[in-house]
Subunit: 171 residues, 2 copies
């Protein structure tokens, strides 16, 4: 089964992201707005039981993640995805590094750039138009993420939450 | 904020439900296939913190729920919703009753009929056509639900998981 690990920001920030995703993101209906912490990976039922224990430990170690969506950026020319950029912090980097080390399933596809996608799979000209507009609009939202979610993917591409982990530590 | 409490069945049963929902359920993109345990209700942040503790206790008391989707039924003429009927069991009834007693937010809109919706908001003639077909196809799937989910609703009508509760008791 295919799994992924994400953080859902506050309802306020999700609602804001959805105003764009509704129009510009074909994955809009497959999952609510999120920050990916670990790209999708294949794992068996047994492996997931081990992984759940590791996530329990990790979540017990880290404090809620302070995030700041500070501007609208694009991954162009790597991909045409447009996103809320989340300011990198020591805490976020340490958390994601430890997650990656402890859970080696799947490869890291990219360097970790914390973000919430708001548009993707655009043609080059659509991308240029839309990014030009959105960059001017910008975003400036601070938020606290006090839990992470382990998800699995259904055959139609949509994602269901398998389990949540409250960040209850001090780091 | 608007909350709801559901159980997501296994991926296999969700995939099966989605083969119908994709065509016949306008809520298809708002939430993955589920059995509603408590209809949506309004609650404040503070109330939710209390509710989470109550759900922790309830989940620690009950064993995983054995369910059997045994046939395809319809709520007609109350509504035109078509669903996988889940066989009523003592365990399921007791769990749902206790959930309702402990968490009095919102009213129970109907008698509890455990089900997984696969079609809704149909016209009367669509309902008759589709129900006629699906009733013949039927369903016969047993499953074990070992966790429940507290969800909240975004402005666009889609649902995000707030927290999961593992059923780890004996009842």
């Amino acid at each position: 089964m295919k799994y992924g690990i994400v953080a859902f920001p506050s309802k306020k920030l999700q609602d804001l992201a959805n105003t764009y995703r509704k129009r510009y993101d074909p994955h809009y209906a497959k999952i609510t707005p999120h920050m990916t912490l670990k790209d999708s990976f294949e794992a068996s039922e047994d492996e997931i039981q081990t992984l759940v224990k590791q996530l329990d430990e990790l979540a017990a170690k880290y404090a809620p993640l302070a995030i700041h969506a500070s501007r609208i950026s694009s991954f162009f020319p790597t991909t045409n995805a447009i996103f809320f950029r989340i300011e990198p912090t020591e805490q976020l980097a340490a958390f994601q590094r430890e997650l990656q080390e402890q859970i080696p399933h799947g490869e890291m596809k990219h360097v970790f750039v914390p973000h919430i996608t708001i548009a993707q799979k655009l043609s080059d000209s659509e991308h240029d138009d839309i990014f030009g507009q959105l960059r001017m609009t910008g975003v400036d939202e601070k938020d606290t993420i006090d839990r992470i979610h382990l998800l699995y993917q259904l055959e139609d591409g949509s994602w269901t939450t398998y389990e949540t982990f409250r960040l209850s530590g001090a780091e």
